[in-house]
């Protein structure tokens, strides 16, 4: 018994010692002036301590908005894709015909090592962007909105002109959304001849092809590039990382450092939504981007002291997409029947009560953006309000028959709606379960099939293995980006060398299989060609095209728009205040951490 007692005593002592360290105050913790700001990067689970401070590296320890800066921070505007907040550029001038943009850099901008930010830094950053693929800096033949010339005007001014061959109204957005990196650190990542290679790559022929391959190979080198230490242009600089957290400290050289409230920023690691929910319910995070949460979890998050959920516009909608190569989904009346049958309000209430609003109809555009772009067209669209009688009428028109309360196909074989969604997409799965119940109630056999994960889901969807799946649409704000989800590669239309080609259903990734031409208002239109046109026309020309496409989507229903997403931002008012509530700044460019931008703009204040 003595040995047992000794072991128990030792265990107790070990636990007590470990527990006592909770009283230790971390060095430089929350006591520093301005305080510690705690957040997560919702775009990238899993902090990797060994990853370099490289914004192009998928696991890179670069935090856009906090440590890395873009030329400008493109905002979430309903109709203007070129609207942005100042970033490394204090201001810019866009030529009225979109042919060029002239950037004026922040006059006091410095890197965290004290060296000034110059136009040469921006030029090198543009060269780096070419290696990674960028809307404005692309060497792909026929790419819309590609830059032609990059000219350093003076130390703080740089002019970028657009290639007139295939101009795009969102050219300025592509330029502004470029990450700016210090040339004295990054110049070794690309050869000195990079601009010659880019010039050659933008041409035609075998030499250009070879140059393009060289640039792609350089892209791999850039992605793997590891700066010896983080030299940041943003309000913070990376201090250290461990596999569980990253610590940023204030960059005293940042041009707006006086208005940056926190003195330190801690990024917490997570591997799944559950951990984010835990952080939020415990009030640990000052800010987190949108994360889907069931109602009970959302209520617990809201109940945390200081917790607030800011709701705003999110240019994303979820839809039920059909594979029209499969019967009976090739028949538009079947799709319309389902649109009348499914009660979208009920689906949204079950699947995404906090994160979505039921789609008022299927237009291919988020309702808010639709109201801004095509207000006159909206009343003309069929709302497909839940109506069983209309649904049955459509099914009958399609040749379906109802026997013993069950709908069967025209040839008498049983009809089963088989819906697929990837595991872990809880809102999609809940929605499909609800739709299944609604269908079964109406006499249509239905099932929900869960796919192992998203990569498998996408592979099988593209291979045309599913009858019905869920698909994100309406990815704005640019009109082309919105409609290419319906009338792009997944539906057979692809840009090949600047020309739009259509592949038949089941070929080249065309899993939707819509017809190449659709009759809208008595006129035949090619939705893929019209969508591609949106990439090169201004807002005034875009509106009538968008109207046509919305009407095409509404009458032909390649998908049923179920709900429009809401951008939920989780903030905590216990330590910091001043959170913006403006739709435009709640969601910024690709991978950008909005709270970093709010902080650097001086919006976020330490609570007094």
């Amino acid at each position: 018994m003595k040995r047992l007692a000794a072991v128990v005593a030792l265990l107790g002592l070990a636990t007590a010692t470990a527990c006592s360290s909770t009283d230790n105050k971390p060095a430089g913790g929350g006591s520093a002036s301005g305080g510690l700001f705690t957040t997560i990067d919702v775009n990238r689970p899993g902090i990797d301590a060994s990853a370099p401070a490289n914004p192009y590296n998928p696991k890179g320890n670069a935090f856009p908005g906090y440590t890395t800066m873009k030329i400008g921070w493109v905002v979430n505007h309903l109709t203007d894709p070129n609207k942005a907040l100042p970033g490394m550029a204090a201001s810019w001038e866009i030529e009225p015909d979109n042919s060029a943009i002239t950037l004026k850099l922040q006059p006091n901008a410095k890197w965290s090592d004290g060296k000034p930010v110059t136009a040469e830094d921006v030029k090198l950053s543009i060269a780096l962007a070419y290696t990674q693929g960028s809307t404005a800096f692309a060497v792909t033949p026929g790419a819309a909105g590609a830059a032609a010339e990059v000219t350093v005007v003076d130390d703080k001014t740089i002019k970028i002109t657009q290639d007139p061959a295939n101009p795009s109204p969102k050219f300025a957005r592509g330029v502004l959304d470029t990450t700016v990196l210090p040339s004295h650190v990054w110049s070794s990542a690309v050869p000195a001849t990079i601009w010659d290679t880019i010039k050659t790559a933008r041409g035609d022929g075998p030499e250009a092809e070879k140059a393009r391959e060289e640039i792609t190979a350089l892209g791999q080198k850039v992605i793997a590039f590891a700066p010896p230490k983080d030299v940041a242009g943003g309000p913070f600089v990376l201090e250290r990382v461990n596999p569980g957290e990253a610590l940023l400290v204030k960059n005293k050289h940042f041009f707006n450092a006086a208005n940056v409230a926190p003195s330190q920023v801690k990024f917490l690691n997570y591997t799944g939504n559950e951990q984010i929910w835990n952080y939020l319910t415990q009030g640990k995070l000052d800010h987190s981007g949108f994360v889907a949460a069931p109602t009970d979890v959302m209520n617990r998050i809201k109940a945390a002291p200081g917790s607030e959920v800011i709701k705003g516009y999110s240019p994303v909608a979820v839809s039920m997409a059909f594979n029209q190569s499969k019967k009976p989904y090739d028949n538009v009346h079947v799709r319309r029947g389902l649109a009348y049958l499914i009660d979208r309000e009920q689906v949204t209430k079950v699947a995404s009560p906090e994160g979505g609003t039921p789609a008022t109809t299927t237009s291919g555009i988020h309702q808010k953006a639709a109201a801004a772009w095509i207000p006159d067209t909206l009343p003309k669209l069929e709302p497909y309000k839940a109506d069983l009688a209309k649904a049955e009428e459509e099914f009958k028109t399609a040749g379906l028959t109802k026997k013993d309360g069950k709908w069967t196909l025209a040839d008498g074989t049983p009809w089963k709606v088989s819906m697929h969604a990837p595991a872990g997409f809880s809102d999609w799965l809940s929605a499909q379960e609800n739709i299944k119940s609604q269908l079964i109630k109406a006499g249509i056999d239905a099932e929900v099939v869960t796919t192992a994960d998203y990569p498998v889901y996408l592979e099988e969807l593209a291979a045309g293995k599913y009858d019905v799946g869920f698909w994100l649409i309406a990815l704005g704000p640019a009109p082309y980006d919105i409609f290419q989800r319906l009338y792009g590669a997944s539906n057979g239309w692809a840009n090949v060398g600047g020309k739009i080609k259509h592949s038949p259903a089941g070929k080249s990734g065309n899993w939707m299989g819509s017809p190449e031409e659709i009759e809208v208002d008595g006129a035949k239109i090619n939705p893929g060609e019209l969508t591609a046109k949106l990439n090169s026309v201004g807002p005034d020309e875009a509106k009538p095209i968008m109207s046509q496409l919305a009407m095409a989507a509404n009458q032909d229903l390649p998908v049923i728009q179920l709900w429009d997403y809401i951008n939920n931002q989780f903030v905590n008012n216990s330590r910091f205040t001043g959170w913006p509530h403006d739709d435009e700044v709640l969601r910024l460019g690709t991978g950008v951490l909005p709270s970093g931008v709010w902080i650097q703009q001086g919006l976020v204040k330490a609570k007094q």
Binding site: M1, P58, A217, G219, I223, G272, P455, V456, L475
Partner: protein
């Protein structure tokens, strides 16, 4: 020593062949896992607001890190790299050798699992002996029940239970990561204290979940030994209870050493659920991450590392058994 050396040589040769076979099998399994990682990345970029063309180019750059060539060529590359201890380059961590990624993660798995395993072994074995000796009393019953209970609770349930108790109801222990970043890394009290504090719950979960197995195995082994003639002889010779106790323990513990060695071999596999719940960045989490992102090189490397450690543990267990059990040694010498 000759016997041990001969056994070692035989084991190493067999182990080498086994590793090659396992590497081959895991290569083909890993490379045939369904799912399109490039499409998933493209979708993620587009959903995040990137234009389709830019996303296409960005994913094209990533393609360069995926192995190219036919499956046969890739296999030859992989196996020849393996002979040079080169497991390839991670797709999700471009430019980083897989071996480096695995080494980084391994330290966060080995320490807590090793601690948990040894702690549970120690406590389980000691209490197992008591449970066997006192098997007709209340203490023996209580120990046996505690073993069965803890053995029956799945690791993830136990982990969540500890989180609820010590991180939510009585929030005295952290459950999110291996150490607080605010402490300067190094040999200082704050940092080491934070490391220890963060390790308490994962180690306790490992230890508690393994404890049940040890106590039950040890109890059963002791009960078997108690019926042996040499124990009866020792009692009849009037030997002290402490000496008899030592006889019992030394003989009963032999089979448990084999299990211990195999457990240590499996420790590199980590405990996926425990690492996930405690956000502990070990090999288990890395493996999940690599599967989710279809990082084939990393997946293959992780599988291989786990397999190699099990094979090595098998060899060590066998040799160790030869050393600690004179009956095995003398049997071999006789043959």
């Amino acid at each position: 020593m000759t016997v041990i050396a001969r056994r070692l040589a035989g084991h190493l040769a067999r182990g080498f062949v086994m590793i090659l076979v396992v590497a081959t099998i895991s290569f083909f399994i890993v490379n045939n896992i369904p799912g399109d990682p490039v499409a998933a990345r493209y979708e993620k970029l587009v959903e995040g607001g990137m234009s389709p063309e830019a996303a296409m180019q960005a994913t094209k750059v990533m393609y360069g890190f995926l192995p190219s060539g036919s499956m046969g060529e890739q296999y030859v590359d992989y196996m020849s790299g393996l002979l040079r201890f080169d497991l390839g380059v991670s797709v999700t961590r471009p430019g980083t050798p897989v071996l480096d990624v695995l080494t980084d993660a391994a330290k966060w798995t080995v320490l807590p699992v090793l601690l948990g395993t040894l702690l549970s072994f120690l406590v389980g074995v000691i209490l197992g002996v008591y449970a066997a000796i006192k098997r007709t009393g209340k203490l023996g019953d209580a120990l046996a029940i505690s073993g069965s209970l803890l053995h029956g609770i799945p690791q993830y349930v136990l982990a969540m239970l500890l989180v609820v108790i010590f991180a939510t109801l009585i929030p005295i222990l952290p459950h999110d990561g291996p150490v607080d970043i605010l402490f300067e890394p190094g040999f200082n009290a704050g940092y080491l204290g934070s490391l220890a504090e963060h390790a308490v719950l994962p180690v306790a979960t490992y230890a508690l979940s393994a404890y049940g197995g040890w106590i039950l195995a040890m109890k059963s082994s002791v009960v078997t030994v108690l019926g042996d003639d040499f124990i009866l002889a020792a009692e009849l010779r009037g030997m002290k209870r402490s000496i008899i106790f030592r006889y019992i323990a030394r003989n009963a513990i032999l089979p448990l050493f084999t299990i211990l060695a195999l457990s240590l071999g499996l420790l590199l596999g980590g405990a996926v659920f425990i690492e996930k719940i405690f956000n502990y960045p070990g090999l288990g989490l890395l493996l999940i991450d690599s599967i989710t992102l279809r990082d084939y090189a990393l997946m293959g490397g992780a599988f291989l590392l786990i397999t190699v450690s099990v094979i090595v543990a098998n060899i060590v267990a066998d040799l160790f058994y030869t050393v600690i059990d004179p009956r095995v040694r003398s049997g071999e010498e006789a043959s």
